[in-house]
Amino acid sequence: MIEIRNLHKTFSGDPVLRGIDMDVLDGETLVILGPSGQGKTVLIKSLVRLIEPDSGSIRYDGAEILGLSKREFREVQKTISFVFQENALFDFLNIQENLGLYLRMHTRLTEEEIYAEVKRSLEFVRLDEEVLVKFPEELSGGMKKRVAIARSMIQNPCYMFYDEPTTGLDEANVEMVIDLIDLFKKKVCATAVIVTHDIHLMREVSDRVILLKEGKIFFVGNKEDISAKTLHTLYGTGEKYDR
């Protein structure tokens, strides 16, 4: 369980997070929804200390992480995996090296064992072995996203974070990502936090939803409890609520 209390973050005098209080329960998929510029990415990056909050508290299974040194936090980081909006695959490594990097650096597995794990993760995201020798720039957007999810799978995390996982993808790939998020939850890691502005994604995968507006929590509850009026208040006019 992740407990977040009174989290604040300001950039150049502009408050982006204004006293966030929330919990991520074990085994749930929590979607943080909101239009662009509401502090979603800052919030999710603060949860894994890619951005240092100004004040507040973040506890993973009761242990405070904000007071930890970077080195101490690296142990906690081994239980976390993060899928970035732009995938953040290492462009100087081919796909096989991208997928095997974590195991190569943190385990004593042999090259053959690492290769087997890499293949297993690739099968999980339904990609052919042919992509292993390719570099990230040779893949399509959907394939990159699948490789990014496969890389997270290899880390075998306890907590999974997705930053805008469907942004920039066509409809077919959005459905594929939704499928993979579901599969990931069932087979690898049950607890997930997803930030998105995609209402369709929220409806498909969420157990619980938090709506974020101007750095504050605007709504917490189940997706069924979100009314069209609430979404209208959040997104303004012109946004499609049903897909």
Partner: protein, 262 residues
Amino acid sequence: MPKESENFFEELGRAAQLFFSAIWEGWLLFVNFLKVLPNIWFYRRQLREQIYAFLVKTLPLTAMIAVFVGLGAMIQGKYQSSALIPRTYVINVIFKSTILELCPIILSLVLAGRLGASLAAELGSMKISEQVEALETMSLDPVGFLVMPRVIAGMTMLPVLAIFANFLAMFSVFFIATVATDWISAKEFVIGLQMNFRSFELYFGNLIKPAVNGFFIALIGSYFGLKTHGGALGVGRSSTNAVVVSAVLIVFFDYYLARLLL
């Protein structure tokens, strides 16, 4: 409305603040580099890759620079010496100025452009595409994974390149002076090299100076790379800054090292 003079001092204050905060951040990066140094074995694969990038990929450029530095020094030596000065003395001056000053500094400045810029651009584009953050989420230290191997490679491979360059420069001097123009005999050439010989000069020109320059090229390139923000424009800015700052530091420490050690 503020007066122009107020704006000027405001700008000056802001520039000073940026300057000192950059020095402080550079210092912190150096301290972090020292902290991760004991983990060098953990990052050996990255180190091997950087050694390849620093040494093998720059070898042709180094060879070309070295040959022409040697030839230039030879022509200048011939041109500036009068007939009254024994040619062995001229060779001695060419030898010392080449290995102590010309080759190390010209090579370092060229490599600051070649390696410093590419290093800053490489890390800069990693930074803006969230790859540096991805390293952190994989529980890897960006300083250990990206900076430390580059700094170690810079500090150890620039001396290797300098030894190669100094040798090649003096060989080209020898070839032009003795074989191509018959300006001096091979025996006199060797006498010129041996005159007033101090072995420390070889260490200074081949090891100490290039190691210091390699350190600055890699550290400054890494610093500006990791500080990159603002998309492609930011990457370009980081590369330029890395080259300019490392070039300034190279000439600055060229003077102070010479004062201190020679």
